[in-house]
């Protein structure tokens, strides 16, 4: 199955930028999959695919506001949750008035929670066979 690189423009006037890839049997299906996997949430105003190894760029027919759909799918985007942070503060305040907040030692306000980047020079290599499937699953990622 051919591999197609997927390109997108975040806003009008941008150049196409590589954003990922998909596999599809032909250009028609490649454009469908590219749109569904990479531009479902209003991530850009134009998209295109290029078969790996070819030069020709195939632009998708959905542009601007139409890309990502015109019906109200705002629940797919951050804007649907504007105000959740403020609501959290409001609920917290209400619960504090009821004396329900748990008072335990916590980091000072304003202290960044982000830790330091690990220096690859500090780690020692392993043999690839030591990286068992279980070992790999003990390294946090996502889901």
């Amino acid at each position: 199955m051919p591999v197609w690189d997927v390109f997108g423009k975040r806003k009008l006037g941008d150049e196409f930028e590589l954003v990922g890839g998909i596999k599809a049997p032909d250009v028609e299906m490649a454009l469908v999959l590219a749109k569904e996997t990479h531009f479902r949430h209003k991530e850009g105003v134009a998209y295109a695919v290029r078969r790996r190894g070819d030069d020709e760029l195939h632009e998708g027919t959905y542009h601007g506001d139409v890309l990502g759909g015109l019906t109200d799918h705002s629940y797919r985007r951050q804007e649907a949750y504007t105000g959740v942070g403020a609501k959290h503060k409001r609920v917290g305040k209400l619960l504090a008035e009821r004396g329900m907040v748990i008072d335990r030692p916590r980091p000072p306000v304003g202290r960044s929670p982000v830790g330091k980047r690990a220096d690859p020079r500090d780690a020692l290599p392993q043999k690839i066979h030591e990286l068992t499937p279980e070992e790999i699953a003990s390294q946090g990622t996502g889901g």
Binding site: H41, I102, P107, P120, P125, I128, P133
Partner: protein
Amino acid sequence: MGSMTYDQKVAEFKARIDAGDKIEGGDWMPDEYRQAALKFIEMHANSEVMGAIPEGTWVPRAPTLKRKLSLTAKVQDEVGHGQILYRVAEDLGKTREQMFDDLVNGRTKFHNVFHYPAETWGDVAYIGWLIDGAALVNQKALLDASYMPYVRAMRRICPEESLHLRHGEELVLELVSGTKEQRELFQDAVNRWWQPTMHFFGPPSKKKDMLLYWGIKTRTNESLRQEFFSTYVPKLWDLGISVPDDKLAWNEDKGEWDWSEPDWDEFWKVVRGDGPMTQVRLAKRKTVWDTHAWIREVFAGIQDAA
């Protein structure tokens, strides 16, 4: 580079990693780097598609149309993340078919948290806010990984995880500001999910760590767990929700959180494939893989006809 020995090429490549360079898919790379990146990204992809199941089972039972729509969209996103990540992994030398076959037959693994049942709507709220929150802590750190195609995938995935987190946080706020029963529903979810969440970050990283050595991961497990504590535990306490760890508290002298090590035997048992829902979920994925074989055949047919 043609006249260099393999060891010289590896040394040069390692120097690029140490200097913070990014590696593109078409670049020369040592086989051990390629294999380590493949294994890591494959497990990440597996976890995305397996992670869609616990919440997917709640789509028909969501309490309102709004919640049903947003939960459906989230489940679609998670499966989409799997699609994107399997594509990145494929370029490292293993077909998607082989990766899926290894997953459904238990030869490769997926994250511990997706081996547990989602028993109540409180669990859906917990997963949306705090499992996605934990995942986002991990995935944001991967935005600076050494393998550029993976970084691009993370740039696509992180904003969606951030949206999922807001969706989950809103569910939590609704429960904790509701009736006594609603608050208890969420507290019960926290009590059951806390240990799996601690497990999610893995045991403290060792000095010998191939993923850190090659810059495929950029932070130690412990550093990520500490970030999770600092980001979410004060928020839980502000909502009057306790965490089932009496020792958990910020230690100002050490500049980090004190916490109780969980039962790591339970963790290893689960990731090996002996979790409460492991077999049920793998069987579900295997059934779909087998019954949808015709779609893959149709796709292959289009290619043959072209």
